[in-house]
Symmetry: D3
Subunit: 67 residues, 6 copies
């Protein structure tokens, strides 16, 4: 009965991509650890780029500099 | 000083229900473990059904099939 | 299918108290929000008092001062 | 490679304040534990005052009573 | 720069299985969402079966009944 | 009433360093956002290097290669 929490920046992940991610992670847990998919939770949090920092700055700033 | 995080799908929990949940959990921690309500945090995350997976599929898909 | 994470300091909660907490929270979610107990997860993290801070100091220090 | 999650109520923190928080926490981890800023994540969750409880009641109620 | 937290009961997952899980999830995020593995964190929490509840009871009890 | 969760690998952080981190983060939240230290929680999780992955491999492997 694993619980998986995936946290990413909100930058356009589609419904289909999220579905793929959920099913992919669920299968990994079944294949590697024998976990039952019926009680495997996969929860995706999408966060604003203003609220995600790496290297001491927000992803918003990071993306700007890269453009 | 417990911290409790309740994660549910966003499917219409009302302000009153959330208040009830917060006070109920706080009382449980006081009654069972003697924890001080003044420093008990209860935080509710409501997640989109597209972002919650169980059994390898999203709750969005699950709800559709049940209708 | 709620996920509940209860975080407390490791200060002697017994197996029985943890069982009571798990069943109490599960019942609250069923009674207030109609959530199915079969897919309700309640996970308890017990943390060292050195690793828990409130008011800018560790619970270890707080406990000492209270003695 | 630390991961830091800051959870606050959504009550008007600005972009600049969030940036300050991210850089401040990243520097603390570098100065105190020698952690590399390049792989330090700081993620801020802002929650509705209806979804945050302390002392058994929501912050929404708490704020009302204080006015 | 995703952050993934996998929470499972502590029931003997090996070093190798954990390594496989970490690399599998990292590859999924690269393949599905184009996320850079260099800044993908995967963190595994292993919890005591006394501290994990499902269906209102601990996994410890659940395992006993199944034997 | 912020909640801060700092997750690091278990590689020898001392009691004093953890105390410094807790007080530093609490002060940042007071100075930048005006948050009351009395209801600021800072919780540190220390994880085994086998349970922390970055770039698709565990920190255990990463450390070995660096030696």
């Amino acid at each position: 009965m694993p619980y998986v929490n995936i946290r990413i920046t909100r930058e356009g992940a589609t419904k289909e991509q999220k579905q793929e991610l959920i099913s992919g992670v669920t299968m990994l847990l079944r294949d590697i650890l024998g976990k039952n998919p019926a009680t495997t939770f996969v929860i995706i949090d999408e966060l604003d780029t203003d609220n995600w920092g790496i290297g001491g700055e927000t992803v918003t700033e990071l993306r700007k500099r890269k453009d």
